[in-house]
Amino acid sequence: MLTLEHFLTVGALLFCLGLVIALSKRNAIGVLMGIELMLNSVNLTLIAFSRFSEGPAHVAGHAFVAFVITVAAAEAAVALALAVAVYRSRRTVEVDQLDLLRL
């Protein structure tokens, strides 16, 4: 008997994995991947919720996910554009090199 908790658990695990990746990767693009994973887990959670809820409620879940995917795409686009810009100016996309601004 698969219950909501199963899916939520997977979602939570995936979310935190994504978080760990986002927080630990040296390469900006790697960080971005982590973020995408987090968003995916959110989507998974949302869909799970909507699947296990009754009435009109579950439509909201699907809509939400649709928007999240869209936003994720937009964010990714901007992120990669920025990565390129950073690379142009700094010849690197390693975030631990980005420490001009400090103290």
Partner: protein
């Protein structure tokens, strides 16, 4: 207002209060005029001041005559001064036998001293200033004796302190003078604490400061128990300071740094007597508080002993007189301690004359020799006859030789003591021997033997106004000798008023009758013994210092420890000034407090600021620019906040 007091009030119709106020205001006007306008006209200032005090003197005589005419009795005139809530303070004058006597003493001696100063202070750069200060002092002193309530008395009490300070420090360029002035003010102020405390106490407990009412309270027994004891002791503390009683007598000898006329007036005749006057004023209180009275008596005795013994070893003529003043004031206190209210006042009265005389005499000597050091004098008997004879008479009077003034008053003190307290009598009797001894020591050293040349004049010192030639001393001018002669008359005759006790009845009318204890009028036994004692003292002095039968040096050697003790003034000054004031207080306690203030209190403040800056400098290193550190911070924030909530109010 009790019936006794009310009865007393109406008895002196003659005096209008205008007279009484005028007595105070004349010198005050002189002071104001001099300070404001006559700073550059010293001569005029002098005459003005003399005129003013002359007026006060005449008015005082008027007052005295009126009170005499009424055979004693009391009159008061009170005016509200200011009030704060329940506290209402008044300015008022009170005239009665005691006041009248004091008025005459103060104004007469002042007048003579003022005149004398014309000669003594001649040519001093601060001539005008001198007369201003003197006028201020006389104002304060007259106000003090006229005050009809404790608060006003305290006001003038402090003002005499001020003028004393100014006059002792008159030659302020002399460090010794400046120091002496400070010492005098502070030491007396310590005593004043007691007086102030007494004022607070009596007001708080009984809501009055009026002298008459306090008398009533004391006589009717409303003022009793610890209150009256504390009140009495508080008053006495003030008196101890002002009247240079042991252990606060240390300021008086130093006060001799002031000009000699000042010493004569303030530190012999009048101000130092104010303490005695105060205790006499509140004799009913003393009477109601036996413990306090005992203390007064014994402190008086101690002062007699200390003063007399220290006078023995002084080489400075003025200091001899100073210590003798201390011991004489001790006599007065001792008298009060043995119920001798009238006697004390009487001794105050006579002492004023012969002690002023002696001081002025010493001033005259100084005027001729430019020094007070008796080791540099000698043989002046021939060179300045008037000074010599007057001084001699003063000395005899002080030694209590019949029939001079001093004899009568001191004799009565001894009598009172004999009747009421044999122990005190013994002290007084021995002291009277010492008195005669040290006084004649001074006389012999100063006026007999051959002249030792005095003090050469230092012409560099622009402050010195000495003119004349110490090498060849000469008699002073009439402005100085005439006052001497007049005072001599007083020193001889002032005592005769005691015959038949008129004086006593007169001053006793000033306090409620209930407070008075009758001692026998006269006792040949006492009189003769005291005369014998005095003569013995004189003889001893003659033997040691004139005939040199016994060598003073020998005595000193044999009794060295004692001599040292005396020469170091029982180490009191060292104790007070070096040990306490300097080391314990200033370098010890105050430094400690100051260190606490700068290190702990202020340090805490500055430390807080420093801490903030430091922590900030440390913390900002967290701002590494590492984006992922920031991310970790966010995630950690989530975790921590959640945990906090769950811990704060658990599920």
């Amino acid at each position: 207002m009790n019936e006794l007091f009310a009865a007393a009030t109406g008895e002196v119709p003659g005096i209008s209060q205008a007279v009484l106020w005028a007595i105070i205001l004349c010198p005050l006007a002189a002071f104001a005029a001099i300070t404001l306008y006559l700073r550059h006209l010293p001569k005029v200032a002098g005459y003005l001041s003399i005129a003013a005090i002359g007026a006060s003197f005449i008015l005082s005589l008027v007052a005295l005559v009126d009170v005499l005419g009424a055979g004693g009795g009391i009159a008061t005139h009170t005016h509200a001064w200011f009030q704060a809530g329940p506290l209402e303070l008044a300015l008022g004058v009170r005239i009665d036998g005691l006041t009248a006597v004091m008025l005459v003493v103060v104004s007469s001696v002042s007048l003579l001293v003022q005149v004398y100063s014309q000669g003594y202070m001649e040519g001093d750069p601060g001539y005008g200033r001198y007369y201003a200060y003197m006028s201020l002092f006389i104002t304060a002193m007259l106000g003090l004796v006229l005050a009809d309530n404790l608060f006003m008395l305290f006001v003038f009490w402090e003002l005499v302190g001020l003028s004393s300070y100014l006059l002792i420090g008159f030659w302020f360029h002399k460090p010794s003078a400046a120091a002496a002035a400070k010492k005098a003010f502070i030491v007396t102020r310590i005593g004043d604490l007691g007086l102030l405390a007494a004022i607070l106490l009596i007001w708080t407990r009984h809501g009055t400061l009026d002298i008459g009412e306090i008398h009533t309270l004391a006589v009717t027994g409303a003022l009793a128990g610890t209150t009256v004891t504390l009140f009495g002791l508080g008053l006495f503390a003030g008196a101890v300071g002002k009247s240079a009683q042991f252990p606060l007598h240390v300021w008086l000898p130093d006060a001799m740094e002031g000009p000699t006329p000042v010493s004569a007036l303030i530190h012999a005749a009048t101000m130092v007597a104010a303490g005695v006057y105060l205790m006499a004023r509140f004799f009913p209180v003393l009477d109601a508080a036996p413990d306090a009275r005992e203390v007064v008596g014994w402190i008086g005795a101690a002062t007699v002993a200390v003063g007399a013994s220290l006078a023995l070893v002084q080489t400075d003529l003025k200091r001899v007189l100073a210590y003798s003043t201390i011991s004489q004031l001790g006599y007065m206190m001792l008298a009060l301690g043995v119920f001798g209210y009238a006697v004390a006042v009487f001794h105050l009265f006579t002492h004023a004359f012969f002690k002023a005389l002696l001081f002025l005499g010493s001033g005259s000597v100084n005027h001729a020799t430019n020094t007070f050091d008796m080791r540099r004098m000698g043989g002046l008997r021939t060179m300045m006859p008037i000074t010599f004879w007057t001084f001699l008479i003063g000395t005899l009077s002080l030694s209590g030789v019949f029939p001079l003034a001093g004899f009568w008053s001191k004799d009565e003190i001894l009598l009172e003591a004999w009747v009421n307290n044999r122990a005190l009598y013994t002290v007084a009797a021995i002291a009277s021997f010492v008195t005669a001894l040290y006084m004649f020591r001074a006389v012999f050293l100063t006026f007999f033997g051959e002249y030792k040349g005095g003090e050469p004049v230092d012409h560099e010192d622009e402050d010195s106004h000495f003119h004349g030639d110490p090498a060849h001393p000469h008699e002073s001018g009439w402005v100085m000798t005439v006052p001497l002669l007049i005072l001599t008359a007083g020193a001889i005759a002032a005592g005769w008023w005691a015959w038949g006790k008129e004086f006593h009845h007169f001053v006793e009318a000033a306090v409620p009758a209930a407070a008075l204890h009758k001692a026998p009028d006269f006792s040949y036994g006492i009189a003769i013994t005291s005369s014998i004692i005095a003569v013995a003292g004189i003889a001893t002095a003659w033997a040691i210092y004139h005939r040199r039968l016994i060598s003073a040096a020998e005595i000193r050697k044999t009794a060295y420890p004692l001599a040292a003790l005396l020469e170091r003034k029982f180490f009191l000054d060292d104790l007070y000034e070096r040990a306490f004031a300097l080391h314990v207080f200033q370098r010890g306690w105050n430094r400690l407090v100051e260190a606490f203030d700068t290190r702990a209190v202020d340090g805490a403040v500055n430390g807080a600021g420093w801490l903030g800056a430091q922590s900030s400098r440390v913390l900002r290193h967290a701002q590494t620019g590492q984006v992922q550190l920031y991310g970790v911070a966010i995630a950690a924030g989530v975790f921590i906040v959640a945990i906090i909530v769950f811990i704060a109010n658990p599920l």
